[in-house]
Subunit: 746 residues, 2 copies
Amino acid sequence: MAASSSFSLSQALLSHSLPTHCSTQQHSDRLCLSGFNLSSISGTKPNKSTLRQISRAANPRRRVASRSTVKAAAVETLEKTDIAVVEKSINTIRFLAIDAVEKANSGHPGLPMGCAPMGHILYDEVMRYNPKNPYWFNRDRFVLSAGHGCMLQYALLHLAGYDSVLEEDLKSFRQWGSRTPGHPENFETPGIEVTTGPLGQGIANAVGLALAEKHLAARYNKPDNEIVDHYTYVILGDGCQMEGISNEACSLAAHWGLGKLIAFYDDNHISIDGDTEIAFTENVDKRFEGLGWHVIWVKNGNTGYDEIRAAIKEAKAVKDKPTLIKVTTTIGFGSPNKANSYSVHGSALGAKEVDATRKNLGWPYEPFHVPEDVKKHWSRHGSEGAALEAEWNAKFAEYEKKYKEEAAELKSLISGELPVGWETALPTYTPESPADATRNLSQQCLNALAKVLPGLLGGSADLASSNMTLLKMFGDFQKDTPEERNVRFGVREHGMGAICNGIALHCPGLIPYCATFFVFTDYMRAAIRISALCEAGVIYVMTHDSIGLGEDGPTHQPIEHLASFRAMPNILMLRPADGNETAGAYKVAILNRKRPSILALSRQKLSQLSGSSIEGVEKGGYIISDNSSGNKPDVILIGTGSELEIAAKAGDELRNGGKTVRVVSFVSWELFDEQTDAYKESVLPAAVTARVSIEAGSTFGWEKLVGSKGKAIGIDHFGASAPAGKIYKEFGITVEAVVEAAKAIC
Amino acid sequence: MAASSSFSLSQALLSHSLPTHCSTQQHSDRLCLSGFNLSSISGTKPNKSTLRQISRAANPRRRVASRSTVKAAAVETLEKTDIAVVEKSINTIRFLAIDAVEKANSGHPGLPMGCAPMGHILYDEVMRYNPKNPYWFNRDRFVLSAGHGCMLQYALLHLAGYDSVLEEDLKSFRQWGSRTPGHPENFETPGIEVTTGPLGQGIANAVGLALAEKHLAARYNKPDNEIVDHYTYVILGDGCQMEGISNEACSLAAHWGLGKLIAFYDDNHISIDGDTEIAFTENVDKRFEGLGWHVIWVKNGNTGYDEIRAAIKEAKAVKDKPTLIKVTTTIGFGSPNKANSYSVHGSALGAKEVDATRKNLGWPYEPFHVPEDVKKHWSRHGSEGAALEAEWNAKFAEYEKKYKEEAAELKSLISGELPVGWETALPTYTPESPADATRNLSQQCLNALAKVLPGLLGGSADLASSNMTLLKMFGDFQKDTPEERNVRFGVREHGMGAICNGIALHCPGLIPYCATFFVFTDYMRAAIRISALCEAGVIYVMTHDSIGLGEDGPTHQPIEHLASFRAMPNILMLRPADGNETAGAYKVAILNRKRPSILALSRQKLSQLSGSSIEGVEKGGYIISDNSSGNKPDVILIGTGSELEIAAKAGDELRNGGKTVRVVSFVSWELFDEQTDAYKESVLPAAVTARVSIEAGSTFGWEKLVGSKGKAIGIDHFGASAPAGKIYKEFGITVEAVVEAAKAIC
């Protein structure tokens, strides 16, 4: 696998450090992510003595030959840490947040001020990471689910020595082009794992990260070499707790026994509208115990550092359950007049209160100043992080020697490199192949791909047998069988989407898919949007994609959904029409690791069409049949998905009547938009204004393709409960309607 | 109020019995809903002796002079009920479900078979309703949150004597045009309170219904006359429990102390993918205790009728908490080979298994047969229901005599009739009025309307001070202050939307509004879609509607949201540009009681524009300025919301350069679509193809308005974190861009 690699670490880092979600940059060839320094593994043998030197520089008192020693050393360091430096460091975090928000005159100082102690302990004492390679594979993951408090994380990344958050970045907080946007964005700031801000997403992402770790550990760890081994930490607030998505994801986290997921609940009793008493009086501890979590309460999160440390220790000791550490804090701790009030949540303190807070906390420094002793204290993370990574690289080299095949596979997951020729596994079909529902054809693709793509895993929100998403050669990913690849999400669409975002962002080679009925994308739209924004190449397998589902009726029949996703940036909305197109849709989805894909698939059987192809799908829109010449048909019929067959039949009928007819499949608007003007003109010549489209969904947006002289056949009202054929007929989604519309304009 | 009423009960029933969500039928004048027989109240004095006769016919052994007597009688009846008839009735329910699903060869027999006992006890022994007036105001509400089991409810409505579900309706289950669609739909089937099927929605709707009852009871009940007094019952399944929305809504239900909400949790351990063990192993009881519910476990839901009865009695005795009755049942009870398996969940049993089930349960009857003794047993509900309503009408007459003002107000809430001249309360503005954010102007409207509309109540998902939704003259709706009208939803958008659907469907005069940032409609889209489908006129107050929110960045900046709602059927997407347009948007939203409205409002200040008007908004698109003649301007500039000001300024600049320019505000595409062709031509003449639109959102769909020769200025990628002005400039949402585009085409 390594032999076919053509990318270096520096390229990998470059690809990470640039925001790439703008449409012009979204190309499927940008797969060069790396979780570790490949050169140190695949090229020369790592030099153990060099490694030792690095680690000694980091901490001369300890050896780093084995992981467990490092862990012990970390605890040792922690115990010896001067309390004064800890307090100073915590106040540094607080004031970096205060100062940045003040300079921007925008932002959320309250959470960083309250959570600085747990933040400090995590990043300075507990977490294992390498600030100089934020993508080191085996790093502990940290997610700030309460993303509005991002200055906490920026301050921590700054102190820890990440190049992504320099002093100038703190000073340009929330400004145009900065690496410190208003909420944490993984695509802007190396060191940020996921994109948070919309509440509840982060804790669900963290569940996905922890799932990925447990899954990969189960698949690749050996009794003598636990090559995958990290924790996932998360801070969530009252807002995250109130959101339903967090309950969904946390129910699953306990069900799956994600013991290495440790969540800090910032219990500060304040949300934007005031005291949580006005809307949030449930017993969170009891709810989490009901969900199956281990729950610890740190009563003094403001200054009880040892309480926090002890809680983390206890959490790590509980291996079969995730742990919720409820940390009671004071929002805006240190601000004499605004602490413990909503006024410190989401706006700058104001010069006067900043002064008062400086006085109150005994902070004589200028804005953005990091005291020398704090700087010095944190400086060790550079060398320690390098040592941790080097140690792990050495461990990987050992692993590679002993477990060649597994190492190659794991490496491909870490790098995101796809096996050469993987796409040949995709099935192809001829017009003689039996008619089938695209949901079934999708299952054929999934099962074919799972054999060649070690990172493909996923499942459905309790509709596996309807969505046809089971991988037949694998069992269920469960607490005691985490090596398996069928994930059972239960009826939790929103949590499912966000968990898949976490899986996708764990390492580039993991390719999560998830499934439900297309209409229920409404339940998970916030997570899907974040897939698109944060460049998580999740594959959304959405079946029952129209009135074609029949009797379940309008609550289950999507109408506006295709249009609603075509309007969303950085996502591919694919609606294949038959077997070849379904295979093509999967090819596109697999290649697009930095944007999600939604596959809209039929419940009902569809014919295998003449002229359909994988290559066609890659162009978004293409001609499946044409009896005209000179790029000037009398009429162009455009269909998608289950209605392409209708367009094809109407084409035949019109041709029988003497017309020249082009039939175009429009499987993905986004892909077509990315083609050259010449190609577009070759498919939809400007001179041919007689165009009819047919799609069993909203006509909203179709004017772009059919023009003011064309006709869009679709459904601009809700569906109905009846057998599918009857609804198609009653709603006029028929061959006759296409023929009639075409005759009227050509 | 009654004097101004021009509608009768028969009209009211007619309006209910027709599906009205098709766009051609959605007119604001269709407000004629009635919750009680107005003629018996507002006209002649009710004749007590007649009432007594009706009630005696129903049950000669008891008097109905007071409500409590009826209740006691009901219990008495229940105690005397022959167990054999109960069992036969329960099996009737089971077989009506089996037979209907079998005939349709589609549907979900499992739940009705398992829940028939609790269904029977609720509809036959516990609930207070009048089958001949499904809209009687003081009826107990029942919600089948597990909507796929709708045959349970259809069977119950049929037995209870509702005209909406006759034998022929059961026989046309899931067929075109039937009143028994695949999931319960309030707009199709009188007797169905809300539209369910998408899981978790129903329990949240039920929370809204119970909130409405508690609120109205607090406002209108008197120590001597508790005129508002009913329970809300709901059946939810494992699927509902897994969905995050149910946790959100149930957390609020306990917070609000909704003691008259009684939820049956059908604990059958089976979901579509198999045993709930594969994805749902949390302790639901403990979670609900954590949420603050009273929890009861009925261990034998299959035959433990007295257990179920006792649980309901206990639930009613707990007045300060909602109650969850966990009823352990066997899905598909009675089917010898399919019970307790997923195979009975969602498909017909098949002829062989139907036979086996008939044998197993000793059911010798033909399909759809209701045995005579069962028929006779249920027949009393017609007269009893009439008596209940008549008794309540008498009570209302007493109430009206003593509390004239309150009675008039309550009557208007029950009928949905708006006070004459209410719209004059809306504020108006001149170009000289100070610039302001439309979110602030929205608050002025809300506060003005709350004074004249007794049914207006609502709130925000923890963003009241950002969404500007507080009604200043009212306090918070809370457990101990349920008469107040500011609802604090916490950070629970999805639950909020579905709760508002419940409030809206409780009685036509309640007008719920709810608020969050526009981008977070993604969290609640499933609830919004159901507002549209089920004709709930909820007002969605969605602020921070574009990149204009600035520093919070792309996670918070809507891009595709306007397009995504323009594509959704039966919803009004309104984006007002200034004070007059905001007032106009509220006028439209209040008048549209059968379709929801979304108001997209700015965070940033906007000028009051010359030419804007309430009347203009009502037409959806209208001219705000024009220096052309003969309906032939050189160019048409189209703007919405915050960008209308940009279009207006560009218009001025182009006019200074000698062009004739029309500036059009396009506040609602849906309303414009409903205008006459002549009006449309007067605003957007076909001959003028030089058109430029500007909107700080996706251009998807704008081709319809600007045509292939025009230009749509918008944003087709994600936003950015920076001050708003900077983002507008960098993204080219500027006067200069409009002027340049216009010059290029005219």
